[in-house]
């Protein structure tokens, strides 16, 4: 599992969903969690973060800067190119999954999800990083 000190960034325009994701991650042991309400704000957090953000969990559909645009921005910047990025979305059409994979997403969670499903996805990302 991720080191509990890993800096986690949770991005969602819906406060209740940020609360839910943060709660599950706290149960997993994460202690350093920052929340942002859209991709633009999240980008500001990433640039200012020191030590750097070690895991991003982001919604897809958000105003100002969508999760996909945010992912592309993160992957386009060499410095954050390998930061684990999990996309959470209520819409899971095939073309969207393909688009996210092409943009470099590390894993994909479809709403509705249980706490165990989110935990499994986070663990899978960590496992992939460790191999």
């Amino acid at each position: 599992m991720f080191d509990p000190k890993t800096r986690l960034l949770v991005v969602d325009d819906m406060l209740t969903m940020r609360k839910l994701v943060s709660k599950v991650c706290k149960e997993l042991g994460f202690t350093d969690i920052t929340e942002a309400e859209d991709g633009a704000k999240a980008w500001e957090v990433i640039q200012a973060a020191n030590p750097p953000i070690g895991l991003i969990i982001s919604d897809w559909n958000m105003p100002n800067c969508s999760g996909l645009d945010f992912l592309k921005r993160v992957r386009g910047a060499g410095k954050y190119g390998k930061t684990p990025f999990i996309m959470v979305t209520a819409e899971a059409e095939q073309h969207q999954v393909v688009e996210a994979l092409k943009a470099g997403v590390s894993n994909y969670v479809v709403k509705p999800f249980t706490a165990d499903q989110l935990k499994d996805k986070i663990e899978a990302v960590h496992k992939k990083l460790s191999t």
Partner: protein, 160 residues
């Protein structure tokens, strides 16, 4: 009055059941759907509304909760007990509606419908009811839970 295609509202029933079960751990049992106006209109305290467009149907989907039921649903979803609908809590109804829409969209896409939604709006108040200006039918989908009843309304502006 135009008929609302059953293929269109059934995925929203299934989406509501799945969303409540998986995201909140709540069993929502569907009651018999009815056309608005045929029965007494249920009142609610909070609702999420989204406009939708498709190749077969334009209209709105509204998710309506009485206060007690909404607080119960949010308490289950977030694992904390809530006594009142605060500003921090109210976007939960929009999020649940987004998820229900996403679930229904998968089924509808598989049936050949293309469907898009607008950004949801949240409405709050006391003893609210909806009033629809559309000439099309409004289908009311009631659900029973351990906390009480809530409902989904599907309003069509141009039904099949």
């Amino acid at each position: 009055m135009a008929q609302l295609d059953v293929r269109f509202f059934k995925p929203f029933i299934e989406g509501t059941i799945n969303t409540l079960k998986i995201q909140c751990g709540i069993e929502a049992k569907p009651d018999k759907p009815f056309i608005k106006g045929q029965k007494e209109q249920p009142e609610f305290a909070i609702a999420g509304v989204i406009g939708i467009t498709s190749n077969a149907f334009n209209g709105t989907i509204t998710l309506c909760y009485p206060e007690k039921v909404f607080l119960g649903v949010m308490s289950k979803m977030l694992g904390e007990e809530y006594k009142e609908i605060t500003k921090d809590l109210q976007d939960g109804v929009a999020e649940l509606l987004n998820i229900i829409f996403g679930q229904a969209k998968i089924t509808l896409s598989n049936q050949g419908f293309t469907i898009q939604k607008a950004i949801p709006t949240v409405v709050r108040g006391h003893q609210l009811t909806t009033s629809v200006l559309s000439s099309g039918p409004v289908m009311v989908l009631p659900f029973q839970t351990e906390m009480g009843e809530f409902h989904v309304e599907i309003c069509s502006e141009s039904a099949m």
